[in-house]
């Protein structure tokens, strides 16, 4: 059973998670995942203080470090998987560059819409197909790994899973901070953190929000190197549906470029690409989204619009 999921804008400078927790009337302790911060996982003082001392860090990053120390075989297996995933991502990225470039060229090409529009749609469909193909390949790789390694049955993992489950049993909700999106997803998955959450509310921001969605989309329109092609990384943990969370969208995306905005929105449709900037909040009740103040989504016409309940 899935409870309420609240996706928030970045919390470092303008924290809002305490208000979100209060408005849902969550009582008791709050489990905290800061595994995306990696070795700084325990540097959670400001966040714990903001949460009025109610947070208990599940230490997901350091727990998995302990697993790797005790189970070097599993570590080697995960590293091999990581290498395969990285190579797969590179291959996908090569193909994506050409496919996206073609779509961008057609979207900005002048000419008769009657002639061009079907070609534009087909070009975007090519991108969608490539994204879907990549997700399938990554999923197959994970499935093969799970089948071979049965991570949850390994002694060190099982022990930590049990400890995490016990901590979660004692909490009224879960908070998932941002950081390194792949590290966060992998550690939450390995420790089956969502398996212990049940119908408790979950509050997530930045990479945490990305991890809870159905697919993780990496994005930056103006990187110092490269074309800035948004790319699908892998499936998220799927706690909420129908949204592509875009933390720091105002900083990372050229929201004043209608071609890029429109392509982004059309590529990931029907999911709503939501700009998760500071103070933004959107709430998922298991079936539909309720936008909070300032929640905006990228539109197919290249504009930004208020996110409507859906």
């Amino acid at each position: 059973m899935t409870g309420t999921v609240v996706l928030l804008g970045p919390q470092r400078l303008e924290p809002t998670v305490r208000d979100a927790v209060a408005e849902l009337g969550v009582e008791g302790r709050l489990a905290l995942v800061t595994a995306g911060w990696e070795e700084r996982e325990d540097d959670d003082g400001e966040l714990v203080e903001h949460l009025e001392g109610r947070a208990v860090n599940l230490n997901a990053w350091s727990r998995m470090e302990d697993v790797f120390r005790r189970d070097p075989e599993l570590l080697a297996g995960m590293r091999a998987r990581h290498d395969r995933l990285r190579e797969l991502q590179e291959v996908y990225r090569e193909r994506l560059a050409c496919t996206l470039e073609a779509a961008r060229k057609l979207l900005t090409r002048a000419g008769d819409p009657a002639l061009l529009d079907p070609e534009r749609e087909a070009a975007i469909e090519d991108v969608r197909r490539l994204d879907a193909h990549h997700l399938e390949r990554v999923h197959a790789l994970y499935a093969g790994f799970d089948e071979e390694w049965r991570v949850g049955e390994r002694e060190a993992v099982a022990q930590h899973r049990a400890e995490v489950r016990a901590l979660l049993d004692d909490c009224g909700g879960l908070c998932v901070a941002g950081g390194h999106v792949a590290v966060l997803r992998n550690r939450m998955r390995a420790l089956d953190i969502l398996g212990g959450v049940g119908d408790r509310p979950v509050f997530a921001w930045s990479a945490g929000a990305m991890v809870l969605s159905q697919r993780i989309v990496l994005f930056h329109d103006s990187p110092p190197q490269g074309a800035g092609n948004a790319e699908v990384l892998e499936a998220g943990l799927g706690l909420c549906a129908g949204v592509v969370p875009l933390p720091h969208a105002s900083r990372r995306l050229r929201l004043d470029d209608p071609t890029r905005v429109g392509l982004f929105a059309r590529r990931f449709a029907p999911d709503a690409c939501v700009a998760l900037d500071a103070r933004v909040r959107v709430t998922w009740d298991g079936a539909r989204w309720t936008p909070g103040e300032a929640a905006r989504r990228l539109m197919p016409d290249g504009a930004l619009a208020d996110l409507e309940a859906a």
């Binding site: 970045p10 950081g179 999106v181 990479a207 930056h220 990187p223 190197q225």
Partner: protein
């Protein structure tokens, strides 16, 4: 396009009031398309614009507008250019170099400050300005006793924000480090690029030589100082990644020569080189004409061209199109590429100066040390 100065010349009475109005109505130099109009007002026998653009006569004469005390010069300044200059005021036998009193834009360097004109489209990068959201790193000031050189010299160590002893960091060794800090906003740049995730958190050792023209000119002691003395000591004191691909050398002008020379003398020790406007003067035949201070540089560059080896894995080369070193750097790039190293070469419409080197840091550092931009969302 009719330039503003042409309008003044054509239609007006050219009295003091017209000149007053002209000066009040415009920001100077007036940049219109690819033309820049410089102006100076006062009594003089001649006025010149002194610049360091290679290929142009370094002194460009102003012309006095008939019947006025307004001196003007129209010069090509292509889009995105940065040109540093001074005005030379001639009165009798006296020649006085001054900053342009009508232009508030200054660029500082170890010799003082120059006026600077920005061509159309030049934008001062926002990442060279302090960002209140960026967590600041820390500068540690040290005195370094060098056995190689037998003296004590300053060393500044940059530690990134949220530095942790339990993490291991890449290392940048920066020649003329104090100048990079002062004139190229190096600390601000590192703070911002790390904050933006465009480079990873790293440690930088900023060195300063008391005799750079000797020590940076392929002095074997300098290479030994870096490899046998400085890096081992830094590795014992700070949590550094002990891998060539996590080490980089940065240098401009003679500092770039020192960087390439050190990497060449110790191939494979440094994985990454950022060479800015390197003074890589060489000769194909005969003697060079750069003066004795370049003797060792020319000797090194000629030897390097004969046997480049593979000094590093990645080399980022930058140079200004308006400096004499552009010829040598353009010539060097194919040779670097032929060694199998990954080479990136960037030219800019700028000169041999610290703001040119500053403006190229983002592209160079993020290429040599890519940050976790795509994977981290905080």
């Amino acid at each position: 396009m009719t330039l503003a100065i042409q309008q003044l010349e054509r239609g007006l009475q050219k009295g003091p009031a017209d000149v007053d109005a002209f000066l009040a109505e415009h920001d100077f130099p007036i940049v219109e398309g690819s033309k820049a109009t410089f102006a100076w007002r006062g009594r003089a026998d001649a006025v010149h614009l002194r610049h360091w653009i290679y290929g142009l006569t370094s002194s460009q004469p102003f012309h006095r507008l008939n019947g006025t005390d307004l001196w003007t010069l129209v010069m090509d300044v292509p889009p995105t250019s940065r040109v540093e200059y001074k005005l030379e005021i001639v009165r009798g036998d006296r020649h006085k170099l001054i900053q342009d009193p009508l232009n508030p834009h200054l660029a500082t360097d170890p010799y003082g400050a120059n006026s600077v004109v920005h061509g159309e489209g030049y934008v001062r990068p926002d990442w060279v300005e302090p960002d209140p959201e960026a967590r600041p790193g820390e500068l540690l000031e040290r005195r370094w006793r060098s056995d190689v050189f037998g003296d004590v010299r300053p060393l500044t160590v940059y530690l990134p924000a949220r530095f942790r002893e339990t993490r291991r960091y890449p290392l940048l060794l920066v020649h003329d480090g104090a100048d990079y800090l002062r004139f190229s906003a190096f600390k601000t740049v590192l703070d911002n690029l790390i904050h933006r995730l465009e480079i990873p958190p790293l440690i930088a050792a900023l060195i300063q030589s008391p005799d750079r023209m000797t020590e940076y000119a392929d002095d074997p002691r300098h290479a030994d100082f870096l490899v046998q003395e400085l890096v081992p000591q830094l590795e014992s004191e700070f949590p550094l990644l002990d891998r060539p691909d996590a080490r980089g050398l940065v240098g401009a002008s003679f500092g770039a020569v020192a960087s390439l020379s050190a990497a060449w003398r110790h191939p494979g020790f440094f994985g990454n080189l950022l060479l800015q406007s390197g003074s890589f003067v060489f000769t194909d035949i005969g003697e060079h004409d750069r003066g004795p201070v370049f003797d060792k540089v020319v000797d090194f560059t000629n030897r390097f061209r004969a046997e480049p080896g593979t000094p590093a894995e990645n080399v980022f080369v930058t140079c200004g199109q308006y400096e004499s070193m552009i010829y040598y750097n353009r010539s060097l790039v194919p040779l670097l590429q032929s060694t199998g190293m990954a080479v990136r070469f960037v030219e800019a419409r700028d000169g041999h100066n610290w703001e040119n080197w500053r403006d190229r840091l983002r592209e160079g550092l993020s290429w040599l040390f890519p940050g976790p931009l795509w994977m981290v969302y905080e």
